[in-house]
């Protein structure tokens, strides 16, 4: 595998792993992102885009989950890699814009980008992530995969392993808590 292909393969696998986790989290708990979006949405158009009350915005969160999942899978299929990269760039631009809005407004609600484990509000981290996604999309557009590059074999397998590893790492507090509880509650055992 050429160096450029390795770079694209790694980058896409990492992006796919992150997107799969983000999509799963939004699917399971859309209300967190909906809450964060409601806080940032200006009152003048909140009603028009469906963010005008308690419990609204779940549809937008689920749509975002669908788009993320589609981008994740598309990046791993050589035939649709470039259109998926375009979708990735669109997502990245949205995240960056929301991060800017969160930073400027001083939003306080947790973004819910990765479900219960993301307790930070929308802000600078989302801008950085968004720009990185746009950069990766540009790399995909620039670099073509040669025939027999091995990308179709390597990328999905790598993305699968990274997805599970990321999911476990993001829930390390829960795993620790469950292990501590199993040890018949040692006094003073800390959980954050």
């Amino acid at each position: 595998m050429a160096f450029g292909t390795v770079l694209v393969c790694l980058g896409n696998a990492v992006a796919a792993a992150i997107l799969v986790n983000a999509a799963a989290a939004k699917l399971v708990a859309p209300e967190r992102l909906a809450n964060a979006l409601r806080q940032l949405a200006p009152a003048s158009i909140a009603g028009w885009i469906g963010l005008d009350g308690e419990g609204t915005g779940a549809g937008i969160a689920r749509t975002a989950a669908g788009v993320e999942a589609a981008a994740a899978v598309g990046l791993l299929v050589p035939e649709v890699r470039v259109p998926a990269a375009a979708l990735l760039a669109l997502l990245g631009a949205c995240f960056a814009a929301l991060g800017v809005a969160g930073s400027v407004r001083g939003g306080t609600a947790p973004c819910g980008c990765f479900g219960v484990d993301s307790d930070r509000p929308l802000g600078a981290a989302n801008v950085v992530a968004g720009l990185a996604m746009v950069g990766l999309a540009a790399l995909n557009a620039r670099h073509g995969l040669g025939a027999g590059s091995g990308y179709a074999e390597a990328a999905p397998a790598l993305a699968s392993i990274l997805s599970i590893a990321l999911s476990l790492w993001m829930r390390r507090r829960l795993v620790t808590r469950l292990l501590l509880a199993r040890r018949a509650a040692t006094p003073g055992s800390e959980v954050r």
Binding site: V20, N21, A24, A25, L27, V28, A29, A69, V73, L76, G115, V116, D117, A152, E153, A154, A155, P156, A157, A159, S160, I161, S163, I164, S167, L168, M170, R171, L174, R177, L178
Partner: protein, 181 residues
């Protein structure tokens, strides 16, 4: 063949990630939803045997009562909302109880009393929790402090107000000398 295997692995991985996400979400909601039987347990947090030196006007009558229970709640305590609801819905006839609302500011405390419909009970808004901390030795909620003629005789952490009340009633029977005086 390898490509098929790779995508099969991806499908499995996505299913596992969704499962972990569901487990994580459920686990996060467990502390907020108290399941199972209510409980009452003594806590060693309060200054047992002591008598508060200073009484706020709202609680000035407490030292005259044979038995009086102070429920120390807080505006940052999620479980205190459930306690307030139990008080309003199930213990509205309890006249030997006063509520101390520990809070960052007077306004937060007043809002808590209004929102939880505690206006029918004796309540004192304890700004910064300083009175509870200094006079009762309590810095945690929900905590019930049992007073006998103004003296702290017991303190409990609890989830079930009806259980707490029956525990307090049992203790106040003269035949059982369990007071920490």
């Amino acid at each position: 063949m390898l490509v098929v295997f790779g995508f099969a692995l991806l499908v499995l991985a996505v299913a596992v990630v969704v499962l972990f996400a569901m487990i994580g979400e459920l686990a996060a909601r467990v502390p907020a939803a108290e399941t199972g039987a209510g409980w009452v347990r003594p806590t060693d947090e309060a200054r047992l045997g002591s008598v508060p030196e200073v009484w706020p006007p709202e609680l000035a009558h407490a030292p005259d009562r044979d038995t009086y229970v102070l429920l120390v709640l807080s505006t940052v305590c999620n479980s205190c909302k459930a306690v307030a609801a139990q008080l309003v819905d199930g213990q509205a006839d309890w006249d030997g109880v006063g509520i101390v609302v520990s809070t960052a500011s007077r306004r937060n405390g007043d809002d808590f009393v209004a929102e939880r419909r505690l206006g029918g009970f004796v309540s004192y808004v304890d700004e910064s929790g300083s009175w509870s901390r200094e006079q009762l030795g309590v810095e945690s909620s929900p905590t019930a402090v049992v007073l006998r003629r103004g003296r702290v005789v017991a303190a409990y952490a609890f989830s079930d107000l009806a259980l707490l009340r029956s525990e307090v009633d049992d203790r106040s029977r003269p035949s059982e000398a369990k007071e920490a005086v």
